[in-house]
């Protein structure tokens, strides 16, 4: 079954763009939450991580702060 992937991001941050690009390249469906325009999403992200840096990836409950490609790969089960 496909994993549930959420990306908390802002439209301006380079690592957010790269993270989303990486997911697209690997045909991973994800929900993008723009924390600059969506206070609820921002609060949710801060509650999950206790911090404000973007991007944050939530892959089936595994929280990854920043775009750590290796961790994202292993969380997604990509070789």
């Amino acid at each position: 079954m496909a994993k549930s992937v959420k990306v908390y991001s802002t439209s301006t941050c380079p690592w957010c763009i790269r993270a989303k690009q990486f997911l697209k390249e690997n045909n991973i469906e994800f929900q993008n939450l723009d924390v600059s325009g969506d206070q609820l999403a921002a609060d949710e992200m801060m509650a999950k991580t206790g911090q404000m840096g973007v991007p944050v990836l939530d892959i089936d409950g595994e929280i990854i702060v920043g775009f750590d490609k290796e961790r994202v790969k292993s969380a997604l089960g990509l070789a």
Binding site: T10, P14, S36, E70
Partner: protein
């Protein structure tokens, strides 16, 4: 026995990636080790002076660099930090956060990073209200009170971005007057939600779970300002600390000659980490190619057998 590479390139910004493209075309047995890919280019806004692109965003240009790097199946150790560099006989040992490597030559292209404030609370509140990237994190502070620390172009650029979305922006500058471009200064002075504190230092960043205030100090007095965000924009420092024994100037930039050689034979350096005049993406890229050609000549001349 540990594998011996012809070359290790430290860093994958414009200098390191360009060096890697040249190294691949010379068919060297080499490795690239870097914390990130794209370097400062990935953090840049709009780039209008990289030849061949009349306009491209920093992240897009960084993406192009990365595609070029991967075109040659270059081995890349990403998210890996070099901690030490040591030369014995003709071998250079590179110790990283994950492993140890050795090579006959090294190109240091590790670039620069944001200068830190070095005050109480800075580490604790990093990404908890304190940030070094207004472009990335600015939008999270819509409607809030924030402080920008610094008075140069990057600080004013951050203040300009923030005054459009934040409730109030304090600019905390440690010199007598702002030093950034006059055009930007005028816009900041005219803004109704911006206050400039000259001759003022930030002495502590305080808060609970997130930043809620800073301590500042000027000649006469100390006071506290209630802020939700602190944007540190006080310039850059070279990532050269691991290169012990390599000669540096007073700003800790690695000293190179016109052929990108350092004082240690077989160790070359390129881009923003060096004392090359002017820090530009295109200059870093050009320096990267020069450094590789020098390293290639060094390897050919010595004909290391392993």
């Amino acid at each position: 026995m540990m594998k011996i590479y012809d070359l290790i390139i430290i860093g994958a910004g414009p200098a390191g990636i360009t060096a890697s493209v040249y190294a691949a075309r010379k068919q060297l047995d080499f490795l690239v080790i870097s914390i990130d890919v794209g370097g400062q280019t990935a953090w840049s806004g709009e780039v209008e002076n990289y030849t061949g692109y009349q306009f491209i965003s920093g992240p897009e240009l960084a993406q192009k660099f990365e595609e070029h790097l991967h075109k040659f199946k270059t081995p890349l150790k990403e998210n890996e930090e070099v901690l030490a560099l040591e030369k014995t006989d003709s071998l250079i040992r590179v110790k990283t956060s994950r492993s140890d490597y050795q090579a006959h030559s090294v190109i240091i292209a590790s670039g620069k990073k944001s200068r830190e404030l070095m005050v109480e609370g800075e580490k604790e509140f990093k990404n908890r209200g304190l940030t070094y990237c207004a472009t990335c994190d600015g939008p999270l502070f819509a409607g809030k009170v924030v402080a920008v620390v610094g008075g140069g172009n990057s600080a004013l650029d951050a203040a300009l971005q923030l005054m459009k979305i934040a409730k109030q922006v304090y600019v905390i500058n440690n010199t007598a007057a702002l030093t950034g471009d006059a055009v930007m200064q005028d816009k900041i002075v005219q803004a109704t939600n911006t206050t400039i504190f000259n001759n003022t230092l930030v002495t502590a960043v305080l808060g609970d779970k997130f930043v809620n205030r800073i301590k500042i100090k000027n000649r006469n007095q100390q006071e506290e300002l209630a802020v939700a965000g602190v944007f540190v924009e006080i310039g850059l420092v070279p990532n050269s600390g691991f290169a012990k024994g390599v000669n540096k100037n007073s700003q800790n930039e690695i000293i190179v000659d016109a052929r990108n050689r350092t004082n240690i034979e077989g160790v070359f350096a390129a881009g923003d980490v060096t004392d090359v005049p002017e820090k530009q993406i295109i200059i870093a890229a050009g320096e990267g190619s020069k450094a590789l050609l020098s390293a290639f000549h060094y390897l050919s001349r010595n004909n290391f057998s392993d």
